[in-house]
């Protein structure tokens, strides 16, 4: 028996080796084959599609389907397939009307009047009207619900509904990013809200082009066509299945075999390999996604600004782009990407090991220290964390890499109710302002009101000037004034270095060529409204 088991395991090992080698050989022959049978249906990978059910593979799980409480881009993408807000975004992150037919803003910037689209129904058959908007804003504002969006609507003084298709929102003070925030607030069916209560995050009901079918955590989210959708002739596909596939290799294999029709992100190291393959199209756009490492400024040794600056000097960002991003990306030279509103370029933190060592010595850590970096267990994030570990090792900082599944990580970070409880030391993560404005790229990350779980200031960064400026910037009606305030904020945060500033992503997605209309926006959210199989 023993010997049998052993021989068997030997055999399996051999088999794996053989399959591996064979797999490598196959790739080359496929490429040739694809060329010969261009346009035919005999290729090993499909170039046409018979049904209208599309599969989109993404790199992480959805955290929640509650559109008012989503903070990760994938959850926001998912919510937007089923929900719509009064306003929305186009592919350049401009705010455009969706459920509101028109809107006007009073001269003092305090009163917003929305006229709603007519004949819009929620997926449960109830009417979309002014009352529904009011109910939703009340839900967001309710402190008991503790929703992510609450702080964005803190300045809403009252919501009035003179008639069924008019909503008048009055603010307590001017807030120039308010329309962007309105675009971040999809409208949930009031009936579903009362019936489902807290379960609304698992049973979404909105007005969107797709309605919820099923969500199997960790495996798939399926949405199907909303046949009563108010926009004519949309959507053009029957269903969309989102599949979280954290592993780069698997995601790319799914695209190659046609198991997935669209993948995002496309692993950067594979781009050169897939480009030019029959039936596959790779799209690249500049993004607003910034990658950084938050340094918990309330924890030793990161409470010392010299340590934080030293870390910024110790990391070679050019090498980071090359190794982790396969050259597809740019260095992060501010707190936001150059594609974001009111961006102001910063200089400094050029790779300089000696300077980093000197700063560490001045801070009292001549021999470095030990710490840990957290991040998701997805291929590229793990690679980034290891890169950071290698770089910091050169100045004596020993970093332990801790990768966790997205939900676990989010729990770990939000479990701390006060900054003192926080266990986080370093977190390698990315941020994109899904609201498309400078406020979205600043307040949630650097305002001291936004410590987790209320916001995403995971560096626990607190600077009174920055707090004051953020408030002022929101009230500034003149764009030039706002611009100079944001320049101040970026300069101050850059010098305070609550982050190790890493890079700006390029958005790279891969799709089967027969699929059209699926777009990744600069913030990394996936838009499927116009998805079409040709």
């Amino acid at each position: 028996m023993k010997a049998k088991g052993k021989v068997w395991s030997m055999f399996m090992l051999l088999l794996i080796t053989v399959v591996m080698t064979a797999g490598c050989g196959n790739k080359a022959s496929n490429e040739g084959q694809g060329g010969n049978t261009a346009g035919g249906t005999e290729t090993s990978t499909p170039t046409t599609k018979n049904d209208k059910d599309i599969v989109i593979a993404i790199n992480a799980n959805f955290i929640t389907l509650d559109p008012h409480n989503a903070s990760d881009t994938h959850s926001i993408s998912a919510a937007r397939t089923m929900y719509e807000g009064l306003m929305g975004f186009d592919e350049n992150m401009n705010v455009v009307p969706v459920l509101s037919a028109s809107h006007s803003i009073s001269e003092d910037g305090l009163v917003y009047t929305f006229t709603l689209q007519e004949n819009v129904k929620f997926q449960d058959g109830t009417d979309f009207n002014a009352e529904a908007v009011k109910v939703n804003i009340a839900r967001i504002q309710d402190e008991k619900n503790n929703l992510r969006l609450r702080k964005s609507f803190a300045k809403v003084a009252k919501v009035e509904t003179p008639d069924a298709k008019t909503v008048v929102i009055t603010l307590s003070e001017p807030y120039n990013a308010f329309l962007n925030k309105v675009a971040m607030a999809p409208i949930i069916s009031p009936k579903a809200l009362t019936e489902n209560g807290a379960d609304i995050s698992k049973m979404p009901v909105g007005t969107g082009p797709f309605k919820f079918k099923e969500w199997v955590q960790g495996d798939r989210l399926v949405v199907e066509k909303n046949t009563d959708y108010w926009q004519k002739d949309l959507p053009k596909v029957d269903s969309i299945t989102f599949r979280p596939v954290p592993e780069n290799g698997s995601r790319i294999a799914m695209l190659k075999t046609g198991e997935a029709d669209f993948i995002y992100p496309m692993p950067t190291e594979q781009v050169s390999e897939v480009e030019g393959l029959e039936g596959i199209t790779v799209d690249t756009i500049d993004s607003t996604i910034v990658r950084y490492v938050t340094l918990n400024t309330m924890k030793k040794p990161f409470d010392d600004v010299k340590v934080r600056q030293a870390i910024n000097y110790a990391i070679n960002k050019d090498a980071y782009i090359k190794v982790v991003k396969s050259g597809l990306g740019a260095k992060l030279d501010s707190t936001m990407s150059s594609k974001t509103q009111y961006y102001s370029q910063q200089t400094g933190y050029d790779y300089d090991i000696e300077k980093a060592k000197q700063l560490l010595a001045e801070a009292g850590y001549p021999d470095g220290f030990e710490t840990e970096v957290w991040g998701e267990n997805e291929s590229e994030t793990m690679k980034g964390m290891q890169f950071i570990q290698q770089q910091l090792a050169l100045v004596g900082i020993k970093v332990e890499v801790k990768s966790m599944e997205g939900g676990t990580l989010s729990d770990q970070i939000n479990a701390a109710k006060t900054p003192e409880e926080a266990k986080i030391q370093m977190w390698y993560v990315s941020w994109s302002p899904s609201s498309g404005d400078a406020d979205g790229a600043t307040r949630g990350l650097f305002s001291s009101e936004m410590f987790p779980p209320a916001g995403s200031n995971t560096a626990y960064y607190k600077n009174e000037n920055v707090d004051k400026w953020i408030a002022e910037a929101n009230k500034a009606v003149d764009p030039e004034a706002a611009k100079s305030i944001y320049a101040n904020i970026q300069k101050t945060v850059w010098e305070d270095a609550p982050w190790a500033f890493m890079g700006v992503d390029q958005i790279i997605s891969g799709k089967r060529s027969y699929l059209e209309g699926v777009k990744v926006f600069p913030d990394g959210s996936i838009n499927v409204l116009n998805a079409e199989v040709k």
Partner: protein, 303 residues
């Protein structure tokens, strides 16, 4: 490998044929003669010795610093400068394999040794005393046996948390029952032998009988089983590391190297090829040595 059919022999040597303990020297001689007659196990034994030397002198043998990245030489194929190529950070794969040998051997040896010690004690107690103690221990190992090995290990690591030390515990736990069973069967037959009966009649205490008279009889079985289990332990530890439950991705563990390299399977297969080959050869060598030991130590085997 040709005499695989006689595997069961070790587990129940016939009492009458047990050679008397005082002839240790002669026994060793016979063993060496028998072992060196077998070509494959001998070759494998040299390989294993080589592995141990690499593990001991590894830091002096690595052509490059195994942890030092070279961002100008990413994912290069095997060449004169890098015999096994470089990985996704430009680290020399051969150096990492050499460095990882120590990790691999340490994890597999310590887990098998722990399993061996625990299993031997349980087997001796179970076989010698019998009765309800025997029943509890054997039913306990039956329960452990009923789990597929790796699944049990994954379960244990899931409870204890990831990390190499927990992998050692997990592999040790699923290795223990097989030792317990084998040693129990040897104990059962040994306790019926004349010299044990003689010792007892002279008033020797149970502990002395077990330790001085029965335990030496079980040593050949222990050695054989140890060597046979090491291969499995290496495989199990590598599998756990591959699944991200063992070594940290930063450590040059062979399984972890495989795991990190699988993203590049289609563009740089050498990143997984060499760690895979290392695991394959090492497991094969330990198993062949185990075969050879069994054949050489089994008194029933006639040349």
């Amino acid at each position: 490998m040709s005499d695989n059919s006689a595997v069961m022999g070790t587990n129940s040597p016939i009492p009458g044929e047990v050679i008397a303990p005082e002839k240790t020297k002669g026994r060793a001689g016979v063993f060496i003669r028998k072992f060196s007659k077998q070509k494959m196990p001998l070759l494998a034994a040299f390989f294993v010795i080589l592995l141990f030397l690499i593990a001991i002198f590894g830091p002096f043998l690595t052509p490059y610093n195994p942890d030092e990245p070279n961002y100008d030489a990413l994912m290069q194929g095997p060449s004169g400068a890098h015999w096994a190529g470089t990985d996704e950070y430009g680290r020399d794969i051969l150096s990492r394999l050499i460095d990882g040998t120590r990790l691999t051997l340490a994890v597999s040896l310590s887990s098998v040794l722990i399993a061996g010690v625990l299993g031997t004690i349980l087997g001796l107690v179970s076989g010698y005393y019998g009765g309800w103690l025997d029943r509890i221990i054997m039913r306990g190992s039956d329960v452990l046996f009923s789990f597929p090995d790796l699944l049990l290990a994954i379960g244990i690591v899931a409870i204890l948390g990831p990390g190499l030390s927990n992998v050692v515990i997990a592999v040790a736990v699923f290795g223990t029952p097989s030792f317990a069973r084998i040693i129990r069967s040897v104990t059962l037959s040994a306790k019926e032998t004349l010299f044990v009966e003689a010792a007892r009649s002279m008033g020797a205490k149970n502990r002395r009988i077990i330790w001085r008279h029965i335990f030496p009889e079980t040593v050949p079985s222990i050695i054989v089983n140890l060597s046979m289990k090491i291969g499995g332990a290496i495989l199990a530890a590598a599998s756990l590391s591959f699944l991200g439950m063992g070594a940290k991705p930063t450590e040059p563990d062979w399984g972890a190297m495989l795991s990190m390299g699988r993203d590049y399977l289609s563009i740089a297969p050498h990143i997984v090829y060499f760690p895979g080959l290392a695991i394959f050869l090492t497991v094969l060598a330990f198993n062949l040595v185990g075969d050879g030991l069994r054949d050489a130590l089994d008194p029933k085997m006639k040349n």
